[in-house]
Protein backbone atom coordinates (compact mmCIF):
# COMPACT_ATOMS: atom_id res chain seq x y z
CA UNK A 1 0.00 0.00 0.00
CA UNK A 2 2.74 2.35 1.07
CA UNK A 3 4.64 1.38 -2.02
CA UNK A 4 1.75 2.18 -4.33
CA UNK A 5 1.40 5.50 -2.59
CA UNK A 6 5.08 6.07 -3.18
CA UNK A 7 4.70 5.18 -6.82
CA UNK A 8 1.85 7.62 -7.30
CA UNK A 9 3.92 10.16 -5.43
CA UNK A 10 6.88 9.63 -7.67
CA UNK A 11 4.78 10.27 -10.78
CA UNK A 12 3.45 13.38 -9.12
CA UNK A 13 6.97 14.46 -8.24
CA UNK A 14 7.90 14.00 -11.85
CA UNK A 15 5.07 16.11 -12.97
CA UNK A 16 6.02 18.79 -10.48
CA UNK A 17 9.70 18.82 -11.14
CA UNK A 18 9.45 18.66 -14.90
CA UNK A 19 6.41 20.67 -15.79
CA UNK A 20 5.39 22.73 -12.86
CA UNK A 21 8.23 24.15 -10.85
CA UNK A 22 9.84 27.30 -12.14
CA UNK A 23 13.42 27.12 -13.26
CA UNK A 24 15.94 28.53 -10.87
CA UNK A 25 17.52 31.48 -12.57
CA UNK A 26 21.17 31.19 -11.69
CA UNK A 27 21.67 27.48 -12.19
CA UNK A 28 19.07 26.92 -14.83
CA UNK A 29 17.53 23.61 -15.60
CA UNK A 30 20.21 21.55 -13.83
CA UNK A 31 18.86 22.71 -10.52
CA UNK A 32 16.02 20.23 -11.06
CA UNK A 33 18.37 17.43 -10.11
CA UNK A 34 17.98 18.90 -6.67
CA UNK A 35 14.56 17.31 -6.33
CA UNK A 36 15.91 13.78 -6.56
CA UNK A 37 19.34 14.41 -5.11
CA UNK A 38 18.35 15.85 -1.76
CA UNK A 39 15.50 13.41 -1.08
CA UNK A 40 17.79 10.50 -1.99
CA UNK A 41 20.42 11.80 0.42
CA UNK A 42 17.87 12.23 3.18
CA UNK A 43 16.47 8.77 2.60
CA UNK A 44 19.92 7.19 2.57
CA UNK A 45 20.75 8.78 5.90
CA UNK A 46 17.41 7.73 7.30
CA UNK A 47 18.02 4.17 6.12
CA UNK A 48 21.54 3.98 7.51
CA UNK A 49 20.28 5.47 10.74
CA UNK A 50 17.61 2.78 11.04
CA UNK A 51 20.19 0.15 10.20
CA UNK A 52 22.68 1.29 12.83
CA UNK A 53 19.97 1.62 15.45
CA UNK A 54 18.57 -1.85 14.75
CA UNK A 55 22.09 -3.28 14.75
CA UNK A 56 22.80 -1.82 18.15
CA UNK A 57 19.60 -3.13 19.66
CA UNK A 58 20.16 -6.46 17.92
CA UNK A 59 23.44 -7.00 19.74
CA UNK A 60 21.64 -6.23 22.94
CA UNK A 61 18.45 -8.26 22.53
CA UNK A 62 19.56 -10.81 19.92
CA UNK A 63 16.22 -10.76 18.21
CA UNK A 64 16.54 -11.90 14.61
CA UNK A 65 13.82 -9.51 13.53
CA UNK A 66 16.05 -6.60 14.41
CA UNK A 67 18.85 -8.00 12.32
CA UNK A 68 16.50 -8.44 9.39
CA UNK A 69 15.32 -4.86 9.73
CA UNK A 70 18.91 -3.65 9.93
CA UNK A 71 19.83 -5.52 6.79
CA UNK A 72 16.73 -4.43 4.86
CA UNK A 73 17.39 -0.82 5.79
CA UNK A 74 21.06 -1.12 4.91
CA UNK A 75 20.21 -2.41 1.47
CA UNK A 76 17.82 0.45 0.89
CA UNK A 77 20.39 2.88 2.20
CA UNK A 78 22.89 1.55 -0.28
CA UNK A 79 20.42 2.03 -3.15
CA UNK A 80 19.54 5.60 -2.18
CA UNK A 81 23.14 6.49 -1.40
CA UNK A 82 24.03 5.30 -4.89
CA UNK A 83 21.39 7.62 -6.30
CA UNK A 84 22.77 10.47 -4.25
CA UNK A 85 26.33 9.71 -5.31
CA UNK A 86 25.52 9.52 -9.00
CA UNK A 87 23.13 12.44 -9.25
CA UNK A 88 25.42 14.64 -7.17
CA UNK A 89 28.26 14.75 -9.68
CA UNK A 90 25.81 15.20 -12.57
CA UNK A 91 24.57 18.30 -10.89
CA UNK A 92 27.95 19.33 -9.61
CA UNK A 93 29.46 19.31 -13.07
CA UNK A 94 27.02 21.97 -14.14
CA UNK A 95 26.73 23.94 -10.92
CA UNK A 96 30.36 23.88 -9.84
CA UNK A 97 32.10 22.93 -13.04
CA UNK A 98 33.54 19.73 -11.64
CA UNK A 99 32.16 16.25 -11.20
CA UNK A 100 33.59 15.62 -7.80
CA UNK A 101 34.46 17.83 -4.88
CA UNK A 102 35.20 16.79 -1.34
CA UNK A 103 32.07 18.47 -0.21
CA UNK A 104 31.34 17.25 3.34
CA UNK A 105 28.01 15.61 2.71
CA UNK A 106 29.12 14.02 -0.53
CA UNK A 107 32.23 12.66 1.15
CA UNK A 108 30.29 11.37 4.11
CA UNK A 109 27.86 9.56 1.84
CA UNK A 110 30.69 8.05 -0.16
CA UNK A 111 32.36 6.72 2.98
CA UNK A 112 29.08 5.46 4.35
CA UNK A 113 28.54 3.71 1.05
CA UNK A 114 31.85 1.92 1.51
CA UNK A 115 31.14 1.12 5.14
CA UNK A 116 27.90 -0.55 4.15
CA UNK A 117 29.62 -2.30 1.29
CA UNK A 118 31.80 -3.80 4.03
CA UNK A 119 28.61 -4.57 5.97
CA UNK A 120 27.37 -6.80 3.17
CA UNK A 121 30.76 -8.30 2.41
CA UNK A 122 31.10 -9.36 6.04
CA UNK A 123 27.65 -10.89 5.98
CA UNK A 124 28.20 -12.87 2.84
CA UNK A 125 31.60 -14.20 3.77
CA UNK A 126 30.80 -15.92 7.04
CA UNK A 127 29.84 -19.55 7.13
CA UNK A 128 27.85 -19.25 10.34
CA UNK A 129 24.98 -16.80 9.71
CA UNK A 130 24.78 -15.86 13.39
CA UNK A 131 28.38 -14.75 13.24
CA UNK A 132 27.68 -12.76 10.09
CA UNK A 133 24.86 -10.95 11.82
CA UNK A 134 27.03 -9.98 14.77
CA UNK A 135 29.94 -8.91 12.58
CA UNK A 136 27.67 -6.82 10.38
CA UNK A 137 26.11 -5.19 13.42
CA UNK A 138 29.55 -4.28 14.70
CA UNK A 139 30.42 -2.74 11.34
CA UNK A 140 27.21 -0.71 11.33
CA UNK A 141 27.73 0.55 14.87
CA UNK A 142 31.35 1.54 14.42
CA UNK A 143 30.37 3.17 11.15
CA UNK A 144 27.69 5.21 12.91
CA UNK A 145 30.14 6.22 15.65
CA UNK A 146 32.59 7.35 13.00
CA UNK A 147 30.12 9.69 11.31
CA UNK A 148 30.73 12.76 13.50
CA UNK A 149 34.49 12.33 13.11
CA UNK A 150 34.24 11.98 9.36
CA UNK A 151 31.97 14.97 9.08
CA UNK A 152 34.14 17.25 11.22
CA UNK A 153 37.33 16.09 9.57
CA UNK A 154 36.08 16.76 6.07
CA UNK A 155 35.06 20.27 7.01
CA UNK A 156 38.47 20.66 8.58
CA UNK A 157 40.16 19.24 5.54
CA UNK A 158 38.45 21.71 3.27
CA UNK A 159 39.34 24.61 5.47
CA UNK A 160 42.97 23.64 5.08
CA UNK A 161 42.77 23.34 1.31
CA UNK A 162 40.15 25.81 0.20
CA UNK A 163 38.19 24.61 -2.81
CA UNK A 164 36.86 26.92 -5.46
CA UNK A 165 33.86 28.64 -4.01
CA UNK A 166 31.04 26.19 -3.76
CA UNK A 167 27.59 27.37 -4.51
CA UNK A 168 25.56 26.36 -1.50
CA UNK A 169 22.67 24.45 -2.95
CA UNK A 170 20.12 25.52 -0.43
CA UNK A 171 19.61 29.21 -0.47
CA UNK A 172 18.04 30.34 2.78
CA UNK A 173 14.81 31.18 1.04
CA UNK A 174 13.55 28.98 -1.73
CA UNK A 175 10.61 30.19 -3.75
CA UNK A 176 7.37 28.56 -2.70
CA UNK A 177 6.90 26.27 -5.66
CA UNK A 178 10.43 24.90 -5.32
CA UNK A 179 9.88 24.29 -1.65
CA UNK A 180 6.69 22.44 -2.39
CA UNK A 181 8.42 20.29 -4.97
CA UNK A 182 11.29 19.59 -2.62
CA UNK A 183 9.00 18.53 0.19
CA UNK A 184 7.01 16.39 -2.18
CA UNK A 185 10.28 14.77 -3.19
CA UNK A 186 11.24 14.17 0.42
CA UNK A 187 7.89 12.67 1.24
CA UNK A 188 7.82 10.53 -1.88
CA UNK A 189 11.27 9.10 -1.40
CA UNK A 190 10.65 8.40 2.26
CA UNK A 191 7.39 6.66 1.52
CA UNK A 192 8.96 4.67 -1.32
CA UNK A 193 11.80 3.64 0.90
CA UNK A 194 9.53 2.62 3.74
CA UNK A 195 7.32 0.64 1.40
CA UNK A 196 10.18 -1.24 -0.22
CA UNK A 197 11.86 -1.61 3.15
CA UNK A 198 8.80 -3.39 4.51
CA UNK A 199 8.79 -5.73 1.54
CA UNK A 200 12.47 -6.41 1.97
CA UNK A 201 11.91 -7.06 5.66
CA UNK A 202 9.03 -9.41 4.94
CA UNK A 203 11.22 -11.20 2.43
CA UNK A 204 13.82 -11.91 5.10
CA UNK A 205 11.07 -13.14 7.41
CA UNK A 206 9.83 -15.56 4.77
CA UNK A 207 13.36 -16.68 4.11
CA UNK A 208 13.88 -17.43 7.79
CA UNK A 209 10.65 -19.37 7.80
CA UNK A 210 11.70 -21.35 4.76
CA UNK A 211 15.00 -22.14 6.48
CA UNK A 212 13.14 -23.24 9.57
CA UNK A 213 10.93 -25.57 7.57
CA UNK A 214 13.91 -27.00 5.75
CA UNK A 215 15.52 -27.62 9.12
CA UNK A 216 12.41 -29.34 10.46
CA UNK A 217 12.00 -31.58 7.47
CA UNK A 218 15.67 -32.51 7.68
CA UNK A 219 15.37 -33.46 11.35
Amino acid sequence: MLTLLGLAGLIFLFYLSFFWVSTEIRQGIAQRIFYVHVPAAWTAFLAFGISALCSGVYLWLRDDRLDRAAMAAAEGGLVFATIMLTTGPLWGKIAWGTYWTWEPRLTLTLLLWFIYLGYFMVRSSTEDPEKGKRFAAVVAIVGALDIPFIHLSVIWFRSLHPEPVVVKPEGPSLPGDMLTTLFTGLAVFTVLFLGLFLFRYALEGLRAEADLRARRSAA
Binding site: T107, T126, K131, F135, V138, I141, I150, S153
Partner: protein, 226 residues
Protein backbone atom coordinates in the same frame (compact mmCIF):
# COMPACT_ATOMS: atom_id res chain seq x y z
CA UNK B 1 40.43 -4.62 39.40
CA UNK B 2 43.95 -5.76 40.04
CA UNK B 3 43.04 -9.16 38.57
CA UNK B 4 41.77 -7.34 35.48
CA UNK B 5 45.07 -5.54 35.13
CA UNK B 6 47.03 -8.73 35.77
CA UNK B 7 45.10 -10.47 33.03
CA UNK B 8 45.81 -7.63 30.63
CA UNK B 9 49.44 -7.70 31.67
CA UNK B 10 49.68 -11.43 31.07
CA UNK B 11 48.36 -11.15 27.52
CA UNK B 12 50.49 -8.13 26.68
CA UNK B 13 53.59 -9.83 28.02
CA UNK B 14 52.77 -13.00 26.12
CA UNK B 15 52.17 -11.11 22.84
CA UNK B 16 55.35 -9.10 23.07
CA UNK B 17 57.36 -12.16 24.06
CA UNK B 18 56.00 -14.07 21.08
CA UNK B 19 56.83 -11.16 18.80
CA UNK B 20 60.29 -10.91 20.27
CA UNK B 21 60.87 -14.57 19.51
CA UNK B 22 59.30 -14.78 16.06
CA UNK B 23 59.83 -11.19 14.90
CA UNK B 24 57.33 -11.97 12.15
CA UNK B 25 55.24 -8.87 12.26
CA UNK B 26 57.81 -6.29 13.25
CA UNK B 27 60.15 -7.42 10.50
CA UNK B 28 57.53 -7.21 7.80
CA UNK B 29 56.24 -3.86 9.01
CA UNK B 30 59.70 -2.36 9.33
CA UNK B 31 60.81 -3.65 5.94
CA UNK B 32 57.63 -2.27 4.44
CA UNK B 33 58.27 1.13 6.02
CA UNK B 34 61.79 1.45 4.68
CA UNK B 35 60.91 0.17 1.23
CA UNK B 36 57.89 2.45 1.04
CA UNK B 37 60.20 5.34 1.90
CA UNK B 38 62.48 4.37 -0.96
CA UNK B 39 59.64 3.97 -3.46
CA UNK B 40 57.97 7.21 -2.42
CA UNK B 41 61.28 9.02 -2.87
CA UNK B 42 61.31 7.94 -6.48
CA UNK B 43 57.64 8.70 -6.99
CA UNK B 44 58.17 12.40 -6.40
CA UNK B 45 59.39 14.67 -9.14
CA UNK B 46 61.52 17.09 -7.17
CA UNK B 47 61.43 19.56 -10.02
CA UNK B 48 57.77 20.30 -9.36
CA UNK B 49 57.13 19.29 -5.76
CA UNK B 50 59.20 19.89 -2.67
CA UNK B 51 59.45 16.53 -0.89
CA UNK B 52 58.98 18.17 2.50
CA UNK B 53 55.55 19.37 1.46
CA UNK B 54 54.14 15.92 0.85
CA UNK B 55 56.18 13.99 3.41
CA UNK B 56 53.57 14.17 6.18
CA UNK B 57 50.91 12.55 4.03
CA UNK B 58 53.31 9.83 2.93
CA UNK B 59 54.36 9.12 6.51
CA UNK B 60 50.74 8.52 7.43
CA UNK B 61 50.00 6.42 4.39
CA UNK B 62 53.02 4.26 5.16
CA UNK B 63 51.83 3.97 8.72
CA UNK B 64 48.34 2.91 7.64
CA UNK B 65 49.43 0.37 5.04
CA UNK B 66 52.29 -0.99 7.08
CA UNK B 67 50.11 -1.17 10.17
CA UNK B 68 47.52 -3.15 8.27
CA UNK B 69 50.22 -5.64 7.42
CA UNK B 70 51.02 -6.28 11.06
CA UNK B 71 47.67 -5.75 12.75
CA UNK B 72 45.90 -7.96 10.23
CA UNK B 73 47.88 -10.90 11.47
CA UNK B 74 47.03 -10.34 15.14
CA UNK B 75 44.76 -13.34 15.37
CA UNK B 76 46.58 -15.59 12.93
CA UNK B 77 49.33 -16.38 15.39
CA UNK B 78 46.70 -17.00 18.01
CA UNK B 79 44.75 -19.37 15.85
CA UNK B 80 47.59 -21.88 15.59
CA UNK B 81 46.82 -24.81 17.83
CA UNK B 82 43.59 -23.06 18.85
CA UNK B 83 45.40 -21.06 21.49
CA UNK B 84 43.03 -18.13 21.22
CA UNK B 85 40.17 -20.44 22.17
CA UNK B 86 42.06 -21.13 25.33
CA UNK B 87 42.22 -17.42 26.05
CA UNK B 88 38.54 -16.94 25.27
CA UNK B 89 37.45 -19.80 27.51
CA UNK B 90 39.57 -18.46 30.33
CA UNK B 91 37.92 -16.14 32.86
CA UNK B 92 39.63 -13.08 31.36
CA UNK B 93 36.87 -10.62 30.33
CA UNK B 94 36.65 -10.04 26.59
CA UNK B 95 37.26 -6.31 26.93
CA UNK B 96 40.44 -7.06 28.85
CA UNK B 97 41.54 -9.32 26.02
CA UNK B 98 40.81 -6.57 23.52
CA UNK B 99 42.64 -3.90 25.50
CA UNK B 100 45.62 -6.18 25.92
CA UNK B 101 45.82 -7.12 22.25
CA UNK B 102 45.41 -3.47 21.31
CA UNK B 103 48.10 -2.38 23.67
CA UNK B 104 50.55 -5.00 22.44
CA UNK B 105 49.81 -4.03 18.84
CA UNK B 106 50.19 -0.40 19.80
CA UNK B 107 53.67 -0.95 21.18
CA UNK B 108 54.70 -2.63 17.94
CA UNK B 109 53.11 -0.13 15.61
CA UNK B 110 54.39 2.82 17.58
CA UNK B 111 57.94 1.57 17.25
CA UNK B 112 57.38 1.14 13.54
CA UNK B 113 55.89 4.61 13.22
CA UNK B 114 58.97 6.11 14.83
CA UNK B 115 61.05 4.17 12.33
CA UNK B 116 58.87 5.53 9.54
CA UNK B 117 59.46 9.04 10.79
CA UNK B 118 63.21 8.48 10.91
CA UNK B 119 63.25 6.95 7.43
CA UNK B 120 61.32 9.82 5.91
CA UNK B 121 63.37 12.39 7.78
CA UNK B 122 66.41 10.79 6.22
CA UNK B 123 65.14 10.28 2.68
CA UNK B 124 63.14 13.48 2.39
CA UNK B 125 65.47 15.71 4.32
CA UNK B 126 62.86 16.67 6.87
CA UNK B 127 63.81 18.95 9.68
CA UNK B 128 61.61 17.76 12.53
CA UNK B 129 63.93 19.07 15.19
CA UNK B 130 61.97 21.86 16.72
CA UNK B 131 58.63 20.08 17.08
CA UNK B 132 59.97 16.57 17.44
CA UNK B 133 58.25 15.87 20.73
CA UNK B 134 54.87 16.82 19.37
CA UNK B 135 55.30 14.93 16.12
CA UNK B 136 56.16 11.85 18.13
CA UNK B 137 53.11 12.43 20.30
CA UNK B 138 50.82 12.83 17.30
CA UNK B 139 52.16 9.62 15.76
CA UNK B 140 51.43 7.90 19.05
CA UNK B 141 47.81 9.04 19.08
CA UNK B 142 47.47 8.00 15.46
CA UNK B 143 48.96 4.58 16.09
CA UNK B 144 46.60 4.08 19.01
CA UNK B 145 43.50 4.95 17.03
CA UNK B 146 44.60 2.86 14.10
CA UNK B 147 45.49 -0.14 16.23
CA UNK B 148 42.18 -0.07 18.10
CA UNK B 149 40.12 -0.15 14.91
CA UNK B 150 42.59 -2.49 13.27
CA UNK B 151 42.48 -5.02 16.09
CA UNK B 152 38.68 -5.02 16.26
CA UNK B 153 38.28 -5.50 12.53
CA UNK B 154 41.16 -7.93 12.27
CA UNK B 155 39.10 -10.13 14.58
CA UNK B 156 36.11 -9.64 12.29
CA UNK B 157 38.10 -10.32 9.13
CA UNK B 158 39.75 -13.42 10.60
CA UNK B 159 36.28 -14.81 11.31
CA UNK B 160 35.23 -14.53 7.67
CA UNK B 161 36.18 -16.68 4.74
CA UNK B 162 37.79 -13.70 3.01
CA UNK B 163 40.28 -13.22 5.80
CA UNK B 164 42.68 -10.31 5.70
CA UNK B 165 41.65 -9.17 2.24
CA UNK B 166 38.49 -7.83 3.83
CA UNK B 167 40.37 -5.70 6.35
CA UNK B 168 41.13 -2.66 4.15
CA UNK B 169 37.54 -2.48 2.93
CA UNK B 170 36.33 -2.37 6.51
CA UNK B 171 38.95 -0.12 8.03
CA UNK B 172 39.88 2.46 5.39
CA UNK B 173 36.58 4.34 5.29
CA UNK B 174 36.69 4.60 9.07
CA UNK B 175 40.25 5.86 9.07
CA UNK B 176 39.61 8.93 6.94
CA UNK B 177 39.17 11.30 9.89
CA UNK B 178 42.29 9.98 11.55
CA UNK B 179 44.35 10.56 8.43
CA UNK B 180 42.92 14.06 7.99
CA UNK B 181 43.72 15.10 11.56
CA UNK B 182 47.03 13.28 11.61
CA UNK B 183 48.34 14.66 8.36
CA UNK B 184 46.97 18.09 9.16
CA UNK B 185 48.89 18.33 12.39
CA UNK B 186 52.06 16.52 11.29
CA UNK B 187 52.30 18.66 8.19
CA UNK B 188 52.30 21.88 10.12
CA UNK B 189 54.51 20.64 12.92
CA UNK B 190 57.13 19.55 10.42
CA UNK B 191 56.91 22.89 8.70
CA UNK B 192 57.78 24.44 12.05
CA UNK B 193 54.44 26.14 12.60
CA UNK B 194 53.48 26.97 16.19
CA UNK B 195 51.72 24.33 18.23
CA UNK B 196 48.65 26.49 18.77
CA UNK B 197 47.79 26.08 15.11
CA UNK B 198 47.37 22.32 15.35
CA UNK B 199 45.96 22.03 18.84
CA UNK B 200 42.46 21.37 17.54
CA UNK B 201 43.72 18.68 15.20
CA UNK B 202 45.57 16.94 18.00
CA UNK B 203 42.57 17.09 20.26
CA UNK B 204 40.36 15.52 17.60
CA UNK B 205 42.99 12.88 16.97
CA UNK B 206 42.98 12.06 20.67
CA UNK B 207 39.19 11.93 20.74
CA UNK B 208 39.23 9.61 17.75
CA UNK B 209 41.75 7.28 19.39
CA UNK B 210 39.77 7.23 22.62
CA UNK B 211 36.49 6.57 20.87
CA UNK B 212 38.09 3.78 18.83
CA UNK B 213 39.49 2.09 21.94
CA UNK B 214 36.19 2.42 23.80
CA UNK B 215 34.13 1.14 20.88
CA UNK B 216 36.49 -1.76 20.40
CA UNK B 217 36.42 -2.73 24.06
CA UNK B 218 32.63 -2.61 24.07
CA UNK B 219 32.09 -4.50 20.82
CA UNK B 220 34.92 -7.03 20.85
CA UNK B 221 32.92 -9.58 22.80
CA UNK B 222 30.33 -9.74 20.03
CA UNK B 223 33.04 -10.44 17.51
CA UNK B 224 34.83 -13.29 19.27
CA UNK B 225 31.70 -14.94 20.63
CA UNK B 226 31.08 -18.35 19.11
Amino acid sequence: MSLYLRQIGAIVRKDLLLELRSRERMTSMAAFAVLAGVLFSFSIDTATVRPQDVAAGLVWMTLVFGGLLGVGRTFHLEAQDGAFQGVLTSPAPKDAVFLAKTFANFVMLYLVSLLVLAVFALFFGLDVGQNLRWVVFVLGLGSLGFVALGTLFAAVATGTSMGETLLPVLVFPLLVPMVVYGVGSTDRLIAGRPLAEVEGNIRMLGAFALAAVAAGAALFRFVVED
